[in-house]
Symmetry: C2
Subunit: 197 residues, 2 copies
Amino acid sequence: MGLMTELEKGPTGRRRGRGARERILSASQQLFREQGINRTGMDQLCVAAQVSKRTAYQHFAGKDELVAEYLRRFDPSVLPGVFDRTDLTPRERLLAAFDIPPATPLCPYIGAAVELHDPQHPASQYARDYKKAVAARLADTAREAGAVDPEQLGEQLALLLDGAAARTRVLNADAFPTAAAIAAVLIDNAIPATAGD
Amino acid sequence: MGLMTELEKGPTGRRRGRGARERILSASQQLFREQGINRTGMDQLCVAAQVSKRTAYQHFAGKDELVAEYLRRFDPSVLPGVFDRTDLTPRERLLAAFDIPPATPLCPYIGAAVELHDPQHPASQYARDYKKAVAARLADTAREAGAVDPEQLGEQLALLLDGAAARTRVLNADAFPTAAAIAAVLIDNAIPATAGD
DNA sequence: CGTTATGTAAACAGGTCTGTGTTCTTAAGC
DNA sequence: GCTTAAGAACACAGACCTGTTTACATAACG
């Protein structure tokens, strides 16, 4: 009976259902990425999300909370499509982390941390948590691959990812192949020839 | 007779000499670093520089030009105290690039590129030039050290520097030791045992 | 002494930002 | 059909930002 999901909009352009929050977050992902956080005003964002400002501020206490939520929704499962690939060996999974689609302009976590410029900001804190989670996941996979010091290798590979992201942004040129080449050297050095696969 | 350098200020608090421009740039270095570029207004900056806004806008066409000049004045000789150290072997010089004072919070070039968010901005263009210059200097030193592929090694080490800077910023923890460890591995791999020193 | 830069001080213009209040409209559910 | 809650539309407040303008002061130099 109930079954009212996706009823979207009425004849006058009215939008109901629970779409407002999702539309706001979706517009945030696009605009924050394209223009940056500070250069995207709430007005513009609400227009893009087809939501009134009043509604936006009923869903989010303020822009700060929205930014934090934007980051949180960004990658809820930490590098999906990399660590989940059971068809790859652990070693291949470590390298797969550097095969990112070229459409990705910049790691949003670094962007947020730099733009907000306040380590205490909720979004900055989440960016920290996320980066630690990535390093931990890499370390787990490194352990699985038989690395001598998986924590160290995980931290090293995480640094390579961040370096590639930052350098890609500054130079406007894809730096991930370089990072992948370094990763290959580190992985070969850290994993005994007889281990893993 | 002339000899009027450093006459600084008159009895009424008036400041003359050619200090205004330098004071503005000096205040920029401090404030842009502490608060970021976008969060530092020209008003605040002029107060800190003890300069009227009128004067500031006579020296710089606008904030954009000031930001570009701020970056340009930052490190005119590209990593001073690293490439100049003739007391070190080329190999040691490559590693010395990772021994940065812990007081340095973040590479201002990355910060500017992210904050300004416009690759066409003069400051973004200079940041690109600077990063390329660093990589070239590293490549030169790598060649001097006898590396097999000095261009590649230079690019790799530059990526490590940027990775350490970005990661230090996001995590609020010094990532340069990790980068130095990776650098040591790369250098050892790229330089034949018999070359250099 | 008079002229001329150079600078201060402070108001102002026009814009954008976050966030709120106010009124009207309409869908959902009984 | 009636009630209720969610949202649209829109003006507005208050702050801050970049950049300009006006009026005044003083140091250097002839």
